[in-house]
């Protein structure tokens, strides 16, 4: 069936709510309104107000309560209305959820999913455009995923809900209604921890995730005559699928990492360091990164375009590395 990215998310939640009575969805305006972006349209009506809960504006409580529910065996999905607000619940995520199993010596698990719309390109300004995934990739005990396709959005969300560990799920708002895909009618899961080889190539590897996957794939198609690009969509950011990453780096010898999050301290640095360390003797060029400039994502269009990676910058970066 043909679905948009956000419909795929909605379907995943609907199906899991139907499949397991312990699954819940809690967040601001998720119930009656169906979510600020309609990601949960119809779910409260179908599954009940006990399980699809309109919460007060209290991100810390939303996450904390989710943890309490998880200890009791429930599997709550906790929505951050905009991922930018995840900072308000940061303490509960890194100090309570991520440590729960560890500091109780393995007595319990914490099966929560924290999800919300991230990313820019929508004139959202500072508080509706953020990509803060790097903060969480630094916290052991968490898992972090970022789907780029409708297929992965559905499959990864289901896997996240069924995972017994806390999963932070970064959905990209730019993709919500802009991509439409055929997905299977039958149930399927996408495993956490496995990258996707989107395109095979010989000359140069681009490692990416989230919204830029589409610009990279377009560049790969448009530049096919001049350079044969291999594209890896990480999909899971913690833990990263190193064997896929390294195999590709060793195969092509040239790696460009593209992410919409900012350059300094972004995940690209971790990937680049790992490749430089483990694939040093196979490298035929410096490991490069294309990312947002180290500044907040501004509102005015020309400024936002200046800051964020775009099709042109992707093409240029690929071309420069290919020529090395």
């Amino acid at each position: 069936m043909l679905v948009t990215y956000i419909e795929a998310i909605r379907q995943a939640m609907d199906e899991e709510l139907g499949r397991d009575r312990n699954v819940m969805l809690m967040g601001e305006d998720v119930g009656v309104l169906g979510g600020a972006f309609k990601a949960s349209a119809g779910l409260q009506e179908k599954h009940g107000a006990d399980r699809v809960v309109d919460m007060p504006i209290s991100e810390s409580l939303i996450v904390g309560a989710g943890i309490g529910l998880a200890v009791q065996g429930m599997r709550p999905i906790l929505e951050m209305q905009f991922i930018d607000f995840i900072a308000c619940g940061f303490d509960q995520i890194v100090n309570t959820a991520a440590t729960l199993r560890y500091r109780h010596g393995g007595q319990t698990a914490c099966p929560i999913v924290i999800r919300g719309p991230s990313g820019g390109g929508v004139h959202g300004g500072l508080y509706h455009s953020q990509n803060p995934e790097a903060w969480f990739c630094h916290v052991p005990g968490l898992k972090v995923v970022a789907p780029a396709t409708a297929y992965d959005a559905k499959g990864l969300l289901k896997s996240a809900i069924r995972d017994d560990d806390p999963v932070i799920y970064f959905e990209h708002k730019f993709l919500y209604r802009r991509i439409k895909e055929e997905i299977p009618a039958e149930e399927y899961l996408v495993p956490i921890g496995k990258a996707a080889l989107r395109k095979e190539g010989r000359d140069l590897t681009v490692i990416t995730y989230g919204s830029p996957v589409h610009a990279v794939m377009k560049a790969a198609r448009d530049m096919a005559a001049e350079v044969d690009i291999e594209v890896i969509d990480l999909r899971t950011l913690l833990p990263i699928d190193w064997s896929t990453v390294k195999a590709s780096a060793q195969k092509t010898g040239k790696v460009l990492i593209v992410h919409e999050a900012r350059l300094t301290g972004g995940i690209g640095g971790e990937v680049a360091a790992r490749i430089a360390q483990d694939c040093f003797e196979e490298l035929d060029g410096p490991v490069m990164r294309l990312a947002a400039r180290d500044v907040h994502t501004p509102f005015a269009p020309a400024m936002e375009d200046y800051v964020l990676p775009n099709q042109e910058k992707v093409t240029e970066a690929i071309r420069k590395l290919a020529a090395y």
């Binding site: 006990d50 399980r51 809960v53 919460m55 007060p56 209290s58 810390s60 409580l61 939303i62 996450v63 904390g64 309560a65 989710g66 943890i67 309490g68 529910l69 200890v71 009791q72 429930m74 709550p76 303490d91 509960q92 100090n95 309570t96 440590t99 199993r101 560890y102 500091r103 109780h104 010596g105 393995g106 007595q107 319990t108 698990a109 914490c110 099966p111 052991p140 005990g141 898992k143 995972d163 017994d164 560990d165 956490i192 921890g193 899971t236 833990p239 990263i240 699928d241 190193w242 064997s243 390294k246 790992r274 483990d278």
Partner: protein, 325 residues
């Protein structure tokens, strides 16, 4: 209350005092690492709230609520091992003091982010409500912790849904060195309850009778589905914030005043007035708690320390098998 109950309560008070006293001594002997937070003087609060809980009720103690662990049913041996940072502790050495709980008997380990356990308690209470279980959650917090946003968010949510959670504020007048008048603008933390749509009660935290009575009312209310209560227990800690705190910010006179309201002392007076054989009870209880605590120390000392590589365990319930992790 029956004599058996009276004696049982006395035993709890004495056990907690003995346990904490021993820990304080061990700390001064250099046998413990990390922070040690004595609750000496506050025993009546945890005994009053926990003495009649069911195993499937949940408590969320703070770092000073060692007593709550014992009364809720934690094994004193494992509790001591926990404090020693040994493998037999609840956290298996992964975190210190009371930061690991025994989840099998409904004790959620404390964290250092004061007040962070209150939203968790509220979430758990939410589950009790929607699944129609008559279980309760009791969240302890200090008056200092009450300044944190999490406390407000949790109480607010509890009030919206009338959750079966009891918020117990142990006001011992100092958050480390910060006195009440620098912590909040109201006279009583309990005054805030009305802002959340439920009842707040202030109680003499050193008077076990008062605590029991108030606690029972709150617990019954919660079990019946009538919602949360905020109970503020005025009490006092004899020691500093931690064993390394001389607490010079308090006057000796103030300390003495509170010591003369000692909960165990008061309970002994009560037992005596009930014409129980106080001498025998005291002696028998002393023997019993001394023995229990000695056994606990012996167990903890004999318990193995975790090896370095064990640090990497218990991180994930479903570890991912990717290469070069």
């Amino acid at each position: 209350m029956t004599e058996q109950k009276d004696r049982e309560l006395y035993r709890w008070l004495r056990l907690i005092r003995e346990f904490e006293g021993r820990i304080s001594a061990l700390d001064k002997q250099g046998k413990l690492m990390g922070g040690v937070y004595s609750g000496k003087g506050q025993e009546a609060v945890t005994v009053g709230f926990c003495h009649d809980l069911r195993q499937d009720d949940w408590i969320f103690p703070l770092h000073r609520d060692l007593g709550a662990y014992l009364v809720k049913g934690a094994d004193p041996k494992r509790l001591m091992a926990q404090i020693f940072g040994k493998r037999d502790g609840f956290a298996k050495g992964k975190d210190s003091y009371l930061h690991g709980g025994d989840l099998s008997i409904g004790i959620f380990g404390a964290t250092s982010c004061l007040g962070a356990t209150l939203p968790v308690a509220a979430g758990m209470a939410y589950k009790f409500k929607i699944r129609k279980e008559d279980r309760v959650a009791i969240a302890f917090f200090g008056e200092g912790a009450s300044s944190r946003g999490d406390v407000h968010e949790a109480m607010n949510f509890a009030g919206v849904h009338k959750l079966p959670v009891i918020f117990v504020c142990e006001n011992n007048f100092y958050a480390y060195s910060t006195p009440n008048e620098l912590q909040f603008g109201v006279d009583n933390v309990a005054d805030r309850a009305v802002g959340y749509g439920f009842k707040g009660e202030v109680v003499n935290g050193n008077d076990l009778h008062s605590v029991i009575k108030t606690a029972q009312k709150a617990i019954d209310r919660a079990r019946k589905g009538d919602g949360p209560t905020l109970v503020e227990c005025k009490t006092y800690r004899y020691h500093g914030h931690s064993e390394h705190d001389r607490a010079d910010y308090r006057s000796e006179e103030e300390v003495i005043t509170w010591e003369s309201r000692d909960p165990i002392f008061l309970w002994e007076i009560y037992l005596e007035k009930r014409k129980y054989d106080i001498a025998a009870i005291r002696k028998g209880t002393t023997e019993e708690v001394t023995r229990l605590v000695e056994e606990a120390v012996a167990f903890a000392e004999a318990s193995p320390s975790p090896e370095g590589p064990e640090a990497m365990e218990d991180l994930y319930a479903m570890p991912i098998d990717t290469e070069a992790r």
